[in-house]
Symmetry: C2
Subunit: 336 residues, 2 copies
């Protein structure tokens, strides 16, 4: 804001003190006498003094802001994560800057670099489904930018990570389909390079194995763009249907809704004959038709944990070398 506001200097002048004394009084430092502190605090209150965060940032060489990259905020999973992030960040006096990659590598890189040049103190990121090359993140990290990954994490990057128990979530969902009598279960999933894709595929395979159902690679369809293009989804559905699946396990929020949409659009007659189980944090799932079984991730908590880890890195006095990967349990919400 460009409008005038009182500064430490003003207070100092008004009270006949030096700026250093005022600054120290405001930050409640031990060197300052109680008397002076009271005086300063009272006057600051009176003139409604607000510290200028920009000046502070410049001096301290940090911005008290953290960057967030998600593919889309219009996705309940991510917006819940963001809520979790904010709940912790605001508490600790950080503010957050949100950017969307829209599942595009180019956009993701651009946004990260924009954020970095905006002097964020740390970065929370879920990779886009297109992303393969994370060297640009590595180099930022090497220069000292703390990074914590969540949800979609790279394998070969030593830092804190927070993920859902994707294996178990997928296993449970697939098992649920099997137990309700399905035998030809397709798997619709994200781009192959995402961590979640691999983990969820393993869970799916494990459930099949447990019930002695043969794993057929042709029943697995990958979507490079994570369901951002409806054409991609319709194509996948079109290829899947001839194999006559009686169930589909879908591995992400966007894909789950997109797949049902594609199914209804292209083959409405079979749409409610196929049982669907999918990852989604949509709070509208009860309204969907056909209804489905959903795997809900602890999104809010994921945001909180990731933020705590990030802030601990930011505020660490010495470089952090011990990293954790936190794994949070999912919840299976059965079709009603």
């Amino acid at each position: 804001m460009r409008f005038e506001t009182s500064t430490i200097k003003d207070i100092a002048k008004a009270l006949g003190l030096s700026t250093s004394t005022v600054s120290r009084a405001l930050r409640d430092r031990y060197e300052i006498s109680e008397e002076t502190k009271k005086l300063v605090l009272a006057y600051a209150e009176k003139v409604n003094y607000r510290a200028n965060p920009i000046a502070r940032s410049l001096k301290e060489r940090r911005s008290y802001s953290i960057g967030i990259i998600v593919s889309e905020i219009a996705n309940n999973f991510f917006s819940q994560v963001i809520n979790g992030i904010e709940s912790i960040a605001y508490d600790k006096d950080y503010h957050v800057i949100i950017s969307q990659s829209h599942e595009s590598y180019k956009q993701e890189k651009l946004n990260v670099e924009h954020l970095a040049s905006r002097s964020i103190d740390g970065l929370l990121i879920a990779l886009s489904s297109e992303t393969q090359d994370i060297d640009y993140l590595r180099s930022l990290y090497a220069k000292g930018l703390p990074i914590v990954f969540f949800d979609r994490v790279p394998e070969d990057f030593e830092t804190h990570k927070v993920i859902a128990n994707n294996f178990k979530g997928s296993f449970d969902a697939t098992e649920h389909l099997i137990l309700s009598g399905k035998r030809t279960i397709a798997h619709l999933t994200n781009s192959e390079n995402l961590s979640i894709t691999k983990e969820r595929l393993e869970g799916y395979k494990a459930a099949l194995l447990k019930y002695h159902i043969e794993f057929k690679p042709e029943l697995v369809k990958y979507c490079q763009h994570g369901g951002m293009h409806s054409a991609e989804l319709e194509q996948a559905v079109k290829e899947l249907l001839p194999l006559q699946p009686d169930g589909i396990f879908i591995s992400s929020d966007r894909l789950t809704t997109g797949c049902i949409m594609a199914l209804k659009k292209t083959n409405p007659e079979v749409a409610d004959k196929i049982a669907i189980a999918g990852f989604t944090n949509s709070n509208l799932v009860e309204l969907f038709s056909p209804s489905l079984t959903s795997v809900k991730q602890p999104a809010f908590e994921m945001g909180q944990v990731a933020t705590e880890l990030l802030i601990s890195m930011i505020e660490a006095k010495r470089p952090v070398t011990e990293f954790e990967t936190k794994v949070l349990d999912t919840e299976l919400v059965k079709k009603r």
Copy 2:
């Protein structure tokens, strides 16, 4: 970021120039010779110089950032607005800071004040459904903070505003219900103090009038918390059903989905007997059961227009005194 990065000073020293010359060369000012410019630019490129936006902000007394307040990002209408805002803002080199009020006045005020103290250059805001008192905005505005309202706008506040054609949108939706044979049409709406509530009520009334249907106040139910509490919605539905409506016109995104949810939960037997038309920008509306007719707002465009107006205020050399209220048309998507 705390890590070392080259500054203007470094460049100056390396090239044997003064900081002022380097600064001017980088900003391509006319005073500097082509030769020097080339030299500086090349070197800057080589050391990957990035201007420090914090220092720039401090000097120029502006932050190149704009604040956004919406009730919830997990709402397609708002997330689309945000996408519109970003599309313009990034173009003009502003970044955005998003805050959520969660329909709470207290939270809204807190967030605005937090943003203001973070030195935003301007504010884009859609009021929370609880908000009645906007004096805190007035005082910020008086101190020089440019503000543009969108969607939920106050009546008595002289600044730019961007809204949908709520009257027409409501009229169309209500007329659609009437034309499909409904005669007892309830209206479920937001808190009475919102601008959109009033405008949409008028559209509803006008449609009834046109078809000579008596307006019955008892068919109108207000939700103070905008559907944030499911109890509130269930209560409204409970009070409405005894009046045996054959159609419901619902005036906002959150309420529309919430109402269908409440209907299905408390009275599943009537849920698909009542025709529903409601404002919503959900992109999942095709999946809903019962299906509904929806009024879609031009959310993306609304964000764009609001941002353009805001930036024009921010960059105006002299105080703006002529304000516009832009009205954008809605789109009726009929139930299939």
